[in-house]
Subunit: 404 residues, 2 copies
């Protein structure tokens, strides 16, 4: 598979996070000869929080994680993830697969089943061959290393063309607090949770309810603001584990919150940059809306519009389609107050094309790999930003025959 | 341009509707050497009703039509429509173009400007060269014929690959009531009005408020249930004129309502069959939902899903993507009560693939040109149907460079 032209130059050097170790293995769930299972072992005293898809047909794994997090403890924990099969819509058998995986991890690690979190990503509706994973659990347990998060990032990929990682360090009271995260996601990416898998680890100390509140809040302005194809996965999971190994309490610490926000946004952008068939990374900034909610409607309607996305693919500065997307969004809008900029180029204002705008300037701008569309509704203070990619022949090629 | 493989075999023979005449001309608005303007002249005593896009950035033409229909008379009327330029987001100048067109038609016909309805379809944001249209108005007036509705259907096409017409005759009190309609639409087709232009004429007699109520009701279950690409046009207009020339009052007549329903559904299907790049016509039937509204959420989420539509393009019986669409729709659903059929083939039930299902049977079914997906939620009595087409390389090709 060709690596996305929007991929970062390299996978980052991820730091050791005291209190958590990783391993990855090739279990042959679906793909041959590649890592497809990862196991994280998390030390006693760690706060674990998560955000999940709201799909009504979410997977057995997601339901199990949600149930376990509804009464969190802070005992030792584990996260087991496979790619190649999503274990979604696999009926009672899917529930059985989750139970079997949790028991298997508990058997090799001694960790309570109620603290073992699973995720599966890949094709929907086919039975998960969990025995193949269970056969690797002893190995996964025995080969744990504190420097293997990068292998884990490889193991959770499906149609991804590159592994996604990000790290931030923030100094608090003179001590470095480290955060490291990995993600997978490429298609079936739409808001309403991030429609992907994301795992973040930090040695910060923070109580579980505070961690849960923080990650939910940051999720709303990072992963929930991206879309590749408007389709919402049945398996989306984001989990964060704060081991507390640094001894530094970050509750309410603004520097930590900013670092976590930046890391989550970085991973979210990487998912968009690996959007199926993507050749352009697109930022939609909406300002001047009647409310933030209205701004989000406009941002997401624009980011999800097939006509906007195909115009970007064709490097066509077709701002009329942006007007269309504003119009269909459901947000309050006034034709004569609306203004649109492609980057810094004023394209439309006062209900019509700007006097200073030239088609040549617009066409030149659209040749960029990173495109920013700025929409000001001219009404009030509401703002929102969404990130997406273009819609190309590559998306059709990948998805018209995914299962074969 | 290649004609859609889903096109009907031939354009129908449209009957004369007493009380209305038509003409079409080549004004060179954008396209060279083809009909691009149509003018309908409607007799005194005709009820005229309409349904329009709810886009917040709807065109000057739509706003003008809505204003005029808010205080309908039944004096002589006219409809002037051009293709090639939508006159949408053209600011104050767009309002001026509408006024100029109405004055021009009034000048040649003597019809009051308040009874002249306009529509424009094509590219957004470029000034409408209305002088080119006005230069043709005398000709359009002088060449009116009662048998030229087919020419009008040609004139309103944009990216359409075939002209769309439909006719029904219903016997009431021993007399034939005739209905004839035309439509255009191919891309930027999503519900919330039909996102296209539709003109329907009948010699039935019915008061304007009754006609308006009837067409709004029928629109909700025909044009508002189709989608090509989930994008909502700024120009959608459906107008119906009931001349009363038959002398037969059809108020509340079930046969007439059924005939009108069938005609509107036929035109709606033709728009889908001409969906940009379409190679499959897809019907989504949803039953067993908690409410009709929930059923519609599921039907439209499935019909709009890029992943469902690309799977159909690839003839892949990927029912997991249907499960995904049900899940993301926002409707109440229970994994274990849901069942999915491709045509008559039971694919999934009891939360998993059906025991009797074989991938070969599914793959064979997907080779059909007309595909029906039946989703039963197993909850209550809510039902809905949506119609769409597949998402192919052809859609990308058409839309990645529409303006050039």
């Amino acid at each position: 598979m060709t690596i996305s032209p929007l991929a970062p130059a390299a996978f980052p050097d991820l730091p050791v996070i005291d209190g958590v170790t990783f391993a990855a293995a090739a279990a042959g769930v679906k793909y041959a000869n590649r890592l497809d299972v990862m196991l994280a072992i998390i030390a006693d005293g760690t706060s674990v929080a998560g955000v999940f898809t709201t799909s009504a047909t979410r997977s057995a794994n997601v339901l199990d994680c949600q149930r376990k997090l509804s009464a969190p403890s802070n005992g030792p924990a584990a996260i087991i993830v496979n790619s190649g099969n999503s274990n979604a819509f696999t009926g009672k058998r899917g529930d059985g697969s989750v139970a079997a995986l949790c028991k298997g991890v508990s058997d090799v690690s001694g960790i309570a089943e109620g603290r073992i979190f699973t995720a599966s990503t890949g094709v929907i509706g086919e039975p998960l061959p969990h025995d193949k994973i269970i056969a690797k659990l002893q190995d996964l347990h025995d080969t744990q290393g504190d420097n293997r998060l990068g292998d884990a990032a490889q193991a959770i990929m499906t149609t991804d063309t590159f592994a996604k990682g990000s790290t931030k360090t923030v100094m608090i009271n003179g001590a470095p607090i480290k955060i490291a995260g990995i993600a997978k996601g490429s298609g079936m990416i739409a808001p309403d949770m991030a429609t992907m898998l994301v795992y973040i680890f930090t040695d910060a100390k923070i109580d579980q309810p505070d961690l849960q509140a923080l990650v939910s809040r940051k999720n709303a302005v990072t992963f929930n603001c991206i879309t590749v194809d408007s389709d919402t996965s049945t398996s989306d999971s984001l989990m964060i584990a704060a081991t507390g190994a640094s001894g530094i309490d970050v509750t309410g610490n603004e520097s930590f919150e900013t670092a976590l926000h930046d890391l989550m946004r970085d991973l979210a952008h990487q998912v968009v940059r690996d959007g199926e068939g993507a050749t352009k990374f697109v930022t939609i900034n909406v300002t001047g809306a009647a409310s933030d909610a209205d701004a989000r409607l406009v941002a997401m309607a624009t980011a999800n519009s097939p006509l906007v996305k195909t115009a970007i693919a064709g490097e066509d500065p077709n701002w009329g389609r942006v007007v269309m997307a504003v119009g269909k969004s459901g947000a309050t809008a006034d034709r004569d107050l609306l203004s649109i900029r492609f980057g810094d180029i004023l394209v439309a204002e006062n209900g019509w094309v700007a006097e200073t705008y030239t088609e040549d300037a617009g066409a030149d701008y659209m040749k960029n790999q990173d495109i920013t569309i700025n929409v000001d509704l001219g009404l009030d203070q509401g703002t929102a930003t969404a990130w997406t990619c273009d819609l190309t022949h590559g998306y059709i090629t990948i998805n018209a025959d995914y299962r074969s």
